[in-house]
């Protein structure tokens, strides 16, 4: 059972992830790999957090946030995703976590769109000298605060959604842990192919790809 401290930390992590994804720093703490693992740590199971974060990361591999592109926001979504994976437990929990992470990343994208429109309203007229410096600074920080609040609400709602899922749902899942991870990695295979295509002249680097495949196989056999 999750305590108040854990809940508070997860909500804060959601806020932090939302801020990091655009408003503050972009240190990539908002990557699902990181926020999922941190959520797992808070809940005492970083390995499950890492696994669900890595699965979400695989889905986002080809996303390029150029010029304000509207992409799914996986960071805050990875928090309830990790919570689902750990709270529901087993392979079914992992599958539920991935599904919730995807849904919440789409919800994150929609709320980010609203946030950017709200920022536009708050800053309307700045380019025409509408604000004295103090007001401009205050409005800038209000925008940042709203973004953090957005992430906190997203994470909190996700956790709430997991807690109202019917008991025994994860037992319906038909696969074991390894089979589940393999199934859920299939979309990431699509993303990896897509990413390879986005790199310049991938075909002329065919031999390098083969070297990579052989090295990866050897490393996986060793570890």
């Amino acid at each position: 059972m999750m305590g108040g401290t854990e809940l508070g930390l997860l909500v804060l992590l959601g806020a932090w992830s939302a801020l990091d994804s655009t408003s503050v720093g972009q240190f990539m703490l908002s990557r699902p790999l990181v926020s999922g693992t941190l959520a797992g740590w808070i809940l005492g199971d970083p390995a499950s957090g890492l696994l669900v974060g890595a699965l979400l990361e695989g889905l986002d591999l080809g996303g390029v946030p150029a010029g304000g592109a509207r992409l799914p926001e996986f960071g805050p979504g990875a928090v309830p995703a990790a919570f689902a994976a750990i709270a529901l437990g087993g392979p079914g929990g992992l599958a539920s976590g991935l599904a919730l992470g995807v849904l919440w990343s789409l919800l994150g994208r929609a709320t980010m769109d609203i946030q950017r429109r709200a920022n536009g309203m708050l800053m309307a007229g700045a380019e025409h000298g509408a604000f004295v410096p103090r007001v401009l600074a205050l409005r800038h920080w209000i925008c940042v605060g709203l973004d953090g609040l957005r992430g906190a609400v997203l994470a909190g709602l996700g956790i709430l959604a997991v807690s109202v899922l019917p008991a025994g749902l994860s037992e319906l899942w038909p696969l074991g842990r390894a089979g589940t991870a393999a199934l859920l990695l299939l979309p990431a295979a699509l993303a990896a192919g897509s990413h390879l295509r986005s790199l310049r002249t991938p075909l002329s680097r065919g031999p390098l790809l083969v070297v990579g495949v052989l090295s990866g196989s050897a490393l996986a056999l060793l570890f």
Binding site: A66, G68, N119, A189, S198, G216, A220
Partner: protein
């Protein structure tokens, strides 16, 4: 030095008020505020005019905004012609955006993510994966911010020449090469893990390989269908499980 440090720290929040109308404009004005207070004509109205000039539409990659910030703070301090500053600002944004997108979002970030995913598949500990990913990524991220502010402050109007020295095509070529190698490493490691699955390795490998090829050949389909595919797999799995347990 103190001004540069202030600009560097404030540049981390330059996207705080990102909006569809002026994009980074208002954030740029906020970052430059301490400089604008101390440079140029005195008086509230003059300051407002300087602030408004820097709140106009501006777009750039966030990690390269220090290039513009460094140059703009120098020009404001030197009392350059406001119209010339405005034109310079407009001309600089586009290249800073496309350079950053090409180098960071398209190449460097995916390379770091692939590296982290390879570590995950090889069974590295969660702490090691996250620390290695964040350290590697932010080494370049923070390095780029510091470099950008330095060249912007040093070259002012002539900063475009300094940007040429970044050798973006060469860098993206090299990082892209590493990216291909990392995709290979990930595919190879996953293939071995698939064979370790009891009795089901080959079908998983065939399906995964087919999807990899589809992703490679039909790249444009990817963004549209990725979330739907992931959700369909999970819902399909639960439905199959429910049907099996009902039967």
């Amino acid at each position: 030095m103190k001004t540069e440090l202030t600009l560097l720290v404030r540049s981390l929040v330059v996207q705080g008020s990102w909006n569809y109308r002026t994009l980074l404009g208002a954030g740029m004005a906020w970052v430059l505020l301490p400089v604008l207070r101390s440079a140029g004509e005195e008086g509230e109205e003059a300051l407002r005019a300087r602030l408004a000039r820097h709140a106009e539409h501006f777009n750039a990659h966030p990690y390269l905004t220090p290039v513009a910030l460094g140059a703009l703070q120098r020009l404001e301090r030197e009392g350059a012609d406001p119209e010339r500053i405005r034109r310079f600002r407009r001309a600089l944004g586009g290249p800073l955006g496309s350079l950053g997108d090409a180098l960071i979002w398209s190449i460097w970030r995916p390379a770091c993510v692939l590296f982290a995913l390879v570590l995950v598949v090889l069974g590295a500990a969660p702490l090691m994966v996250t620390v290695a990913f964040l350290f590697l990524y932010n080494l370049v991220h923070l390095g780029l911010r510091v470099w950008g502010l330095r060249v912007g402050s040093e070259f002012g109007f002539e900063v475009a020449g300094a940007l040429g020295r970044l050798k973006v095509p060469f860098l993206s070529e090299r990082i892209g090469t590493v990216g291909v190698l990392l995709v290979g490493l990930l595919v190879g490691a996953l293939a071995v893990r698939a064979f370790e699955l009891p009795g089901r390795g080959v079908p998983w490998l065939l399906v995964g390989g087919t999807l990899f090829l589809v992703g490679f050949l039909k790249r444009d389909l990817f963004h549209r269908w990725m979330p739907a595919l992931a959700l369909a797999l999970v819902v399909g799995g639960f439905v199959a499980g429910a049907v099996r347990s009902a039967g």
